[in-house]
Symmetry: C2
Subunit: 489 residues, 2 copies
Amino acid sequence: MGLDDPNKDSILKYEKKPTLVTIPRKSFVIAIINGQSHEIVFDIRLKSIVSDNVHKGYGFPILTVEEQILATQLPLKYPPFIASVHKRGLNLSELVCAGFTMGWFGEEKSSSRILTVDCFLKESTANFFVRPISGITMVADIDLMKIVEYHDREVEVVPTAENTDYRVSKQSPPFGPKQHSLASHQPQGPGFQINGHSVSWANWKFHIGFDVRAGIIISLASIYDLEKKKSRRVLYKGYISELYVPYQDPTEEFYFKTFFDAGEYGFGRSTVSLIPHHDCPPYAQFIDTYIHSSDGTPSLLKNAICVFEQYGNIMWRHTEAIIPNELIEESRTEVNLIVRTVVTVGNYDNVVDWEFKTSGSIKPAIALSGILEIKATHIKHKDEIKEDLHGKLVSENSIGIYHDHFYMYYLDFDIDGVHNSFEKTSLKTARISDGSSKRKSYWTTETQTAKTESDAKITIGYAPAELVVVNPNKKTAVGNEVGYRLIPA
Amino acid sequence: MGLDDPNKDSILKYEKKPTLVTIPRKSFVIAIINGQSHEIVFDIRLKSIVSDNVHKGYGFPILTVEEQILATQLPLKYPPFIASVHKRGLNLSELVCAGFTMGWFGEEKSSSRILTVDCFLKESTANFFVRPISGITMVADIDLMKIVEYHDREVEVVPTAENTDYRVSKQSPPFGPKQHSLASHQPQGPGFQINGHSVSWANWKFHIGFDVRAGIIISLASIYDLEKKKSRRVLYKGYISELYVPYQDPTEEFYFKTFFDAGEYGFGRSTVSLIPHHDCPPYAQFIDTYIHSSDGTPSLLKNAICVFEQYGNIMWRHTEAIIPNELIEESRTEVNLIVRTVVTVGNYDNVVDWEFKTSGSIKPAIALSGILEIKATHIKHKDEIKEDLHGKLVSENSIGIYHDHFYMYYLDFDIDGVHNSFEKTSLKTARISDGSSKRKSYWTTETQTAKTESDAKITIGYAPAELVVVNPNKKTAVGNEVGYRLIPA
């Protein structure tokens, strides 16, 4: 369940005249009732159901935490699996299991919500992800909450626990280099104010929202224009709409691992508490949020979001030594505002940052951390490899399977208003053959405005291009369009 | 002039047994004698000339500061230019001139070293670069030190000085957002030691050199391996060998502006003093260097290099919530070492960073700052544009001419020894049509080792690829090659 946002038009009207305009306050509930996926909208003011539609297309509701916990307990009571564990000489009490969603490869629409359950050894290390019990495939129907498919194909060695525990408390010498510490302090306090869900900092104002599926949502971001003496809208709404992580191993045990982390697990649901002084600097401020259990009970997630200023880079500088008898040296230090959450989906931790600069730039950034997903193998050395492992032998008996991480951003720009266009400027080589210049060639630019959404589809990186969102109706003093450039990292 | 490095073999021998091995100590001098470019090598111990060769190929010695100063004074005494200035109603005392090298477009080898001199208005702004006196072309022969070519094609308007001065002392309201400050302090002092030109920090040791042409040079960079209990070489030598900045305006006034900032002006010669607390954090340490005038007199360049630790990012983190009844939260803060110089060639300031991480990564980075090069135009508004301006109308009467900045890095890796190879790993799509998997396709990898230098030429960005420098003779425990990945930003 979550907040059912009023439509954009209503929000913009309400934003202008909050005392005069009433907007609906609604929540949505996605519920499975008698095996059907209901999309229910509830009016909080009226305390009544506004709509209740049954979803009949492809796809299923997001997994709940409870479903995952129940599903991962199934193997421990499933006799064929217990037999497999004993056959391997392992102990049931040493196991920890996790649920993995399965990709769709063109099969007919299935009516059952299924999850594969993989088990790992947690004995003598917290780092169970690198100790998979490979060779077994278990599929659970999570509506029936039972194992519906089971294969024990082969007994594969479990990679060693040695040197895998990452906990500081479990480390033993030799220790890595000891770093000197930094004591830092903002004598005037932080330069930003958090008022409810609204943040104001320097020339920026924006709203921080939180959604079960998307996680953190930045909205209504506006920058104050000193010369025009008014606030100018930049971004109506921005968030990570999906993280697609397809693994590239076609074998029975792995082929289906093509995860949609937001749609299947929930980026909001998988947001974790930040660790003060470690995930965010000592002077950061934290915002809590609520997540809910499958019966709707809210539970507090402490320190879900942190907000802090980052210092240290050069914003702009110039040394001017050309004017005779005069040396000019100017350098401005950059202070940026960072809004951070961490989303941990299984083994991977996604550090999701939104960075605001006084120049007007917004820099969304991802830092990926956590643990590699490992597939076990009997192979201990590269020399033993006879065929494509679909990954890299990262350690004895351990393959890091090839995969990608595709982060998809939803960015609804409202640059100086809602009517924006997407422009692509390409570089074009011009050849000179008429002797009009000593140059043989040069480049110039060619700009295309996307007329449809599919027109705006681009492949990034194949050729130099400037991707810009503009407001074609707002011009600068010299007649250029007002816009923001999208710079892929 | 500069240090004539002993060859690599001698340096590596000397490094191993500094008390037993004597290496030559030589300097080089590039001198113009009777119109010929001499490359002279001088033995400092023997106080004698080792070799003296006359360069007969294309190209000329790097410009000296004195030559540039003299050349930029020529217009002020050149009657045709004085007449042009008066014709425009300008005052000679308001002018400042700068020398611009000219590109080579296939002409026959010329025997004269030439420089174009452009003049600007410095009246009522320090920002003369945005106030060019366009329409005039002046070419100076810097060996004869006289103007040898002069064209006054058209009287072009000079862009306004209004709102162009960047000096903090010249600003007037409305001021931009006021930022809160950060007080920072390293209670144990810095975590690095500088001993002469050698730096040791955490698990790193490296040498900082300085060259008139290349600027800062990082060499003999090694990382300490805790498990092997020994230092392992990573980089023999790294520096920016060239910065190529070709402008894309084929007209008479601009076509030749295709600068080689290192080769023509000198990245070392153009290194500027860093501004403490602004260009580097308060707890940075500075290293001075020497540059020399054209007669060889050394002059001190204070604060040419700064070294500091940067805090604040997450090095690694993981929240583990899958193990029943146990929550594990681990997060390590990253501390990196940054070595910084700023190279200002005319209007542009290049912030050149070498960042070292305890993980073993080295991250060279460039931040480009300073001022755009402007061409004047009578055009005040985009609507007046009738033909390709070869740039963007950035302000009334001001075109920011299209151009690129290509930074070239010289990186001589010595990963675990001198014999390294360059490998390119490409992704290859594999299609499945035999029904062996539900997947229709997946990707796998294909690695090629460059056999020749030209084999190693690649175009970055056209397709996903992993570019790796490896030591094919050194393997990890599981048989992987030891190597470093090159990650284009």
